[in-house]
């Protein structure tokens, strides 16, 4: 694995790399030259929202009319994976198109490696875009007035989405309404919401007491327990440190009910931004991408929050509404990733993506033209965790951990039966190990100091 010399990304670098990137892309496939005004880009991000939380995707526990309306305007991907299901890491991949081993953001509160340009820097320099950011960033600070490549509309109140998200949607509304219609530049606007991340507060507030203040009023509305609340205990040792509250069934269902209200809260805020886009008259010429950094446990595998590779944490919504592309379509076939956001945005912006992209433009899938070549979706977690998801199987492994996991996602979408120890799957296991090894061998890994909690330690053993 090679390492690039460390240096800070400058405007000149962006321009130079842009020319190189353009040449690379030109040889790969004919780059679609923009035949009309460049589209604007609206990137909407939520925090801790699992893929199957949208009514349009079959969720019956939450009502998400605004996210659903976006599904009707575009394509919703049902096999969409976060590149690393934790806040900072996932965002670093979304904004750079590179795995977190390359961005250097392998755990929270780290900045993107200085040699890697982000979406704002790239579109501003290469595409002449007006680049504006509102809401959570978390690379490294959650809320900051300074993000490289973006004009930041400070929106504040980090830590509590139920309060701060209104500031984010109002800021976007203000921007879209007051932006000069005669502006010659297209815009890239990022609306980055915090909900339903407040579920983390709910979990800490209820972890020990389990007190359900409003249970009586909502007991007839509680979602059912997930069918995979139980799980195969042959897990990697890293999973033994994950949060698994000792709640009763009623408490689990009450937690789920609260989570889905938070999803509805952010749906309303997303609606405010989408409405403002409509009001601006720019909707028909705007690429809208809606996604999340990671999901939420929701009691599946007895888990809450995130930071592991089961689908409840690793799968995220990815809905793309592009000018001239398919509408009202759900794609349940293709494996897509947070890594694909930047290449897709670049493609529609008529800008060659930065070099070393690990993601692919989704445009062929959105327009039904061209070829799509991803064989598997990779993901990482907690520094040492790796996942390879192929059309049929999911393989999970942690460095220095003898326990591997292999799930047949067709027969066992709830990931309840680990096939790795089953000798009849030895060749499948070997194939997936090989895919992972090949993928890792091609990475330009960033040097990252290991935090204390990530130092290798002995697996816990039961006292005799």
């Amino acid at each position: 694995m090679k390492e690039q010399a460390q240096r800070t990304w400058t405007r000149r670098d962006v321009l130079k790399a842009g020319a190189a990137g353009a040449a690379t892309v030109a040889t790969r496939r004919a780059f679609s030259a923009p035949t009309r005004r460049k589209p604007n880009v609206l990137l909407v991000i939520t925090d801790q929202q699992g893929l199957d939380t949208l009514s349009a995707l079959g969720c019956t526990d939450a009502h998400t009319p605004h996210m659903d309306s976006l599904c009707r305007r575009g394509v919703a991907f049902r096999e969409s994976y976060s590149a690393n299901p934790l806040c900072s890491p996932a965002r670093s991949s979304m904004f750079t198109g590179r795995p977190t081993l390359e961005t250097g953001v392998v755990y929270n509160n780290r900045p993107i490696r200085s040699t890697v340009p982000n979406m704002g820097q790239w579109l501003r320099e290469q595409g002449g875009y007006e680049t504006v950011y509102a809401g959570k960033w978390h690379l490294p600070q959650s809320f900051t007035p300074a993000i490289p490549g973006f004009d930041v509309i400070a929106t504040g109140i980090g830590g509590q989405g139920g309060v701060c998200d209104a500031g984010v949607s109002r800021a976007c509304q203000g921007y879209l309404r007051t932006r000069s219609a005669s502006s010659s530049k297209p815009f890239l606007l990022v609306a980055s919401f915090l909900q339903p991340h407040d579920i983390c507060q709910f979990v800490s507030m209820h972890a020990k007491s389990g007190e359900m203040v409003f249970h009586d009023m909502v007991k007839d509305q509680l979602p059912p327990m997930p069918p995979n609340h139980g799980f195969d205990p042959r897990e990697p040792h890293a999973m033994s440190r994950k949060p698994r509250p000792k709640w009763t069934e009623a408490q689990w269902r009450y937690y789920l009910w609260n989570y889905y209200r938070m999803v509805e809260m952010v749906d309303a805020e997303v609606g405010r931004v989408l409405q403002a886009l409509e009001d601006s008259g720019e909707a028909d010429n705007t690429l809208v991408v809606f996604t999340a950094d990671h999901g939420e446990g929701r009691g599946r595998h007895h888990l809450v929050t995130k930071n592991y590779l089961y689908d409840e944490a690793a799968k995220v919504p990815l809905v793309v509404a592009a000018p001239g592309a398919a509408r009202d379509r759900q794609d349940a076939t293709h494996l897509v990733s947070g890594l694909d956001v930047l290449p897709t945005v670049c493609d529609y912006a008529g800008v060659a993506p930065p070099t070393h992209m690990h993601g692919f433009s989704l445009r062929p899938l959105l327009e039904g033209k061209g070829t799509w070549s991803r064989e598997y979706a990779p993901a990482e977690v907690t520094i040492t965790g790796r996942m390879v998801r192929t059309p049929r199987y999911k393989y999970i492994a942690y460095k220095r951990d003898p326990v591997e996991q292999l799930f047949d996602m067709r027969k066992d979408p709830g990931e309840t039966r680990n096939l790795a120890p089953d000798g009849s799957y030895a060749s499948t296991l070997a194939e997936h190990r090989k895919l992972l090894a090949e993928w890792e061998a091609g990475l330009d890994v960033a040097p990252v100091p290991l935090p204390k909690w990530a130092q290798p330690r002995k697996p816990r053993t039961k006292k005799q």
């Binding site: 509309i153 400070a154 509590q160 309060v163 109002r170 800490s204 507030m205 203040v213 009023m217 209200r261």
Partner: protein, 270 residues
């Protein structure tokens, strides 16, 4: 070994009156004295308390004035974060003199201010709105948009007024749609009586009557009024409004500290 960050006790139990008291957040609370007429003119000031109390807080000033054929409600909301950023929203709402204080026409302004209290460019939103015959019309600049809304409909500030006129245990459950900040539609809300109780605070017992609200797109709310029907406390999920006429000073002190901290950080970066 790195020191493990201690979890703020505010994040260790669900939000209730008793928990707020146990946290010491009601130490300064002084029950208002004197008569109160929920149908008259009044001004209430609330401290906005957040579960993430180290990161922010705010103030809500709510004024009610009987007006010709209805009621005028003015809501002044300021929410500040620990960096000194502040978002202010002001709404002047002409309401019907009905049980839900139904909004009929309003103006709303929302804007962000930085740590130096300067308005942040691009954050100002000004809207005028009306609801008539189940149609919400919103006007901004020279544009407008219309949208159907289910009836009855009200807004969160109207509810803070409305709960003060409910008859306690005789209250019949109310169903309505919520128009949060007068533009986010959240249907299927239900408000009902919760309980009456004596709440002990500084060796004094306050007789309180509680109501609760659940519905789409909101975390459940509890409203607590005193024997005069004055709203003293309202909780919604991870935040609480606490009756506190000194809330503006409290927030100013918090802001001064936040801004001094931000200036220190800026200085350190230079």
């Amino acid at each position: 070994m790195a020191k493990k960050r201690k979890l703020d006790p505010a994040r260790t139990r669900p939000l209730t009156l008793e928990f707020l008291r146990d946290l010491g957040e009601l130490k300064e609370f002084a029950p208002p004295a004197g008569d109160f007429d929920p149908l008259g003119a009044w001004t209430h000031t609330y401290r906005l308390w957040l579960v993430q109390r180290r990161l922010g807080g705010g103030v809500l000033v709510l004024r009610r004035e009987p007006a010709k054929g209805g009621v005028r409600l003015t809501a002044d909301l300021a929410v500040a974060e620990h960096t000194g950023y502040i978002r202010k929203a002001k709404a002047v709402v002409e309401c019907a003199a009905d049980a839900l204080c139904t909004p009929r026409a309003w103006t709303l302004e929302s804007q962000g201010f930085d740590a130096d209290d300067k308005p942040i460019r691009g954050t100002k939103v000004t809207e005028r709105g009306t609801i008539a015959n189940g149609v919400l019309e919103t006007r901004f600049g020279d544009r407008s948009r219309k949208q159907k809304v289910p009836l009855p409909v009200t807004c969160e500030w109207s509810l803070l007024d409305a709960v003060q006129r409910l008859p306690g245990p005789k209250t019949k459950p109310m169903a309505f749609a919520l128009l949060e900040e007068l533009d986010l539609l959240k249907p299927e809300q239900r408000l009902e009586f919760r309980e009456t109780k004596g709440f002990t605070l500084s060796e004094r017992t306050l007789p309180l009557t509680g109501y609760q609200q659940v519905g789409r797109g909101v975390l459940p709310w509890q409203y607590w009024v005193d024997a005069q029907h004055r709203l003293l406390f309202a909780f919604g999920g991870l935040r609480a409004y606490i009756y506190d006429p000194t809330a503006a000073e409290w927030m100013q002190q918090k802001l001064d500290r936040a801004r001094a901290r931000t200036r220190r950080l800026k200085g350190a970066k230079k």
